[in-house]
């Protein structure tokens, strides 16, 4: 479970996030929707602790991301934007490294890697060095790394970026499976259709703030639009930056 409370973050003069609050419950897919530069990535980065909030607080499974960052990270599996594997290591070695960093080892770790390989359909390229992998293969490796330690909370930043249609569908299937298994899944996107198709809860972010949030039905009600995508546009105030 992820809680964000009045978080603000500036980089120099630029206020990336001015006031963001929301909750992402377990067993649900929560989507952060907003145009590029809205503050989605910054918010996610604060959640997986590579950035610290200037104001406000956030927690993962009750662990504060600042004061209990190690515990927060242990409970999180993150897939940052543009994640790349180590090209000279094989896919398995990449995942094994992350497993070891999370305190796993030996036969148990290898079994988990095999499990992930099945789940993500990686067996074709598991023992190959990741140099030259397609975007889809790279994303799978990054996902496996994120999930190797079976974290309850999974944070994905624009995960379908650059993926082809088949890979996108597979990824969406996986996200649904994770939700069904009880994980808290939080992902960000600027693709309205994707968010509409997947999310149980939607948090719309514009210009560093939450401009609307709720289930798809609630959002339609709030904005008075019959079409979810129209509701999005209304909430943000413009089409710019949305697909």
């Amino acid at each position: 479970m992820i809680r964000v409370s009045n978080v603000a973050k500036s980089f120099g003069k630029v206020k990336a996030v001015s006031n963001v609050s929301f909750e992402a419950p377990d067993g649900a897919i929560t989507g952060l929707l907003g145009p590029n530069g809205a503050g989605k990535s910054t918010t996610l980065r604060i959640l997986y602790t590579v950035l610290r909030p200037d104001q406000g607080s956030a927690s993962v499974d009750g662990h504060d991301v600042v004061s209990a960052s190690l515990a927060a990270r242990s409970a999180t599996g993150a897939l940052p934007h543009g994640s790349g594997p180590y090209p000279r290591l094989t896919a398995r070695e990449n995942v094994r490294y992350y497993g070891q960093l999370n305190g796993m080892s030996g036969a148990a770790l290898e079994r988990r890697i095999d499990e992930l390989a099945d789940m993500l359909e990686m067996n074709d390229f598991l023992e190959r060095r990741t140099k030259g992998f397609s975007q889809g293969q790279r994303t799978k490796v990054a996902l496996a790394r994120a999930l190797v330690h079976s974290p309850r909370n999974v944070i994905l930043d624009e995960p379908t970026n650059g993926l082809d249609v088949m890979a996108t569908r597979a990824l969406r299937e996986l996200i649904r499976k994770l939700r069904d298994a009880g994980h808290c899944v939080l992902f960000s996107s600027h693709v309205m259709q994707e968010v509409a198709a997947l999310c149980d809860e939607i948090v719309i972010i514009g210009r560093g703030e939450v401009v609307a949030s709720g289930s798809p039905d609630q959002l339609r009600e709030q904005t008075g639009e019959a079409n979810l995508e129209d509701a999005f546009v209304k909430a943000i105030g413009s089409v710019e930056g949305l697909e």
């Binding site: 190690l70 940052p80 180590y86 000279r88 490294y97 992350y98 960093l101 994120a146």
Partner: protein, 388 residues
């Protein structure tokens, strides 16, 4: 601790597979000594003439001085008939040196007047002209001396009369110490190689990770950033240290191939010396790794890191060129300066006149302290948000 070990092992394994890193380390280890040896051998071969190898000398007017020709032959110079236009012949590179005996040579010689000779050579061609010219000139001077001495003796004048001074020379430098004038650049090569050994790792583990997108997910792992930074640092230091050992070994082989005896020098650089040097120099690999990591932390891309590091490495290494010429002494001051003190240890070690143990320990200690400070800085930099 175990996270540090995990990171260290992964970095070592990963970078051993990097052709660029391995070539850089091995390349330096092999290239530097090979270059050095090749250069030294070349210089010695082309400038120091072997007085016992015979050379041919074209002589214009050979028939005018048969006894002088006989003396030349006794001294490994074989006269042959010279060309019609000797100056042009030397200009055209047909010959390196030509001796011209003019028509009045014999007359002057027998009359007791200085008998004229002309030597033609090309000073811009060191190996093929100047070297042989000096040989011929020296033999002619020897003939001059022999005749002069006998002329005095036969007149009843003791030749010692024209040797008012007998200059005896004492060179207090041992043959090994003398060799430093030729071998003085070795410390520069060794320390430069040490930096190059860890060069690509230092970049890969900072700017490189950032560029390929593997840094951010790594930072999201439940591992203290200090462990990440230190693991990478130690891997870099390991590569640097291994390169150091390889370079020392390569030099110990290469030195035997340089014809130092040609200039009366000799040096011993066996395995014992290699190990002893390594034992005192390894702290510098830690400092080098930390130094390069700190600089690379500020750069945004692999190319940028490569550019900055290449320039920045000159700071600790270029002044070492001076060590060769200035022959500085190992004092409490000089031995407290990292990189410089290591260069001194290498120089004195080659000479066989090892820097004293207290001063060597001073070098190791200050280097470790500076290295630790830089490591601390590298870790702090890694802990910034800006590392991303």
């Amino acid at each position: 601790m175990s996270a540090l070990r995990t990171v260290f092992v992964k970095e070592v394994r990963d970078n051993i597979r990097d052709r660029r890193t391995v070539l850089s380390a091995l390349g330096m280890a092999v290239l530097a000594p090979a270059l050095f040896m090749g250069l030294m051998s070349f210089v010695l071969e082309t400038t120091v003439s072997d007085a016992e190898k015979s050379i041919t000398l074209p002589v214009v007017g050979m028939e005018r001085a048969p006894n002088m020709m006989a003396f030349l032959r006794q001294n490994n110079i074989d006269p042959v008939a010279g060309p019609e236009n000797p100056d042009a012949a030397v200009s055209n590179r047909d010959y390196g040196v030509v001796l011209v005996i003019p028509g009045n040579f014999g007359e002057s010689l027998q009359a007791g007047m200085p008998a004229p000779l002309r030597l033609i050579y090309d000073s811009s061609r060191t190996k093929d002209s100047e070297r042989d010219y000096r040989r011929v000139r020296d033999v002619l001077r020897a003939y001059n001396s022999v005749l002069a001495g006998l002329r005095l003796q036969v007149r009843g004048i003791s030749p010692t009369v024209v040797q008012p001074l007998a200059i005896n020379v004492s060179n207090v430098a041992s043959p090994s110490a003398q060799a430093i004038s030729v071998l003085g650049v070795i410390p520069y090569f060794v320390i430069f190689s040490m930096f190059m050994g860890g060069f690509y790792l230092a970049i890969d583990t900072t700017a490189g990770e950032r560029e390929q997108g593997s840094l951010e997910p790594l930072l999201a792992q439940p591992v203290a950033r200090a462990s990440l930074a230190l693991g990478k640092l130690l891997a870099t230091a390991l590569f640097s240290a291994v390169t150091l050992l390889l370079v020392l070994l390569a030099f110990s082989f290469a030195i035997d191939l340089v014809p130092l005896e040609k200039v009366g020098m000799s040096v011993e650089f066996g395995l014992g010396k290699v190990l002893r040097l390594f034992a005192m120099l390894w702290p510098l690999s830690l400092l080098a790794a930390a130094f390069m990591m700190v600089v690379a932390s500020f750069t945004k891309s692999f190319k940028e890191a490569q550019t900055y590091l290449t320039v920045v490495i000159l700071v600790p290494t270029l002044p070492l060129m001076l060590v060769a010429f200035l022959a500085p002494e190992a004092t409490a001051t000089t031995m407290a300066i990292p990189s410089f003190s290591q260069a001194l240890i290498i120089t004195e070690g080659i000479k066989g006149e090892w820097v004293s143990l207290p001063l060597s320990l001073l070098s190791m200690t200050t280097t470790l302290i500076v290295g630790a400070a830089l490591a601390f800085l590298a870790v702090k930099l890694y802990q910034r948000e800006g590392i991303l």
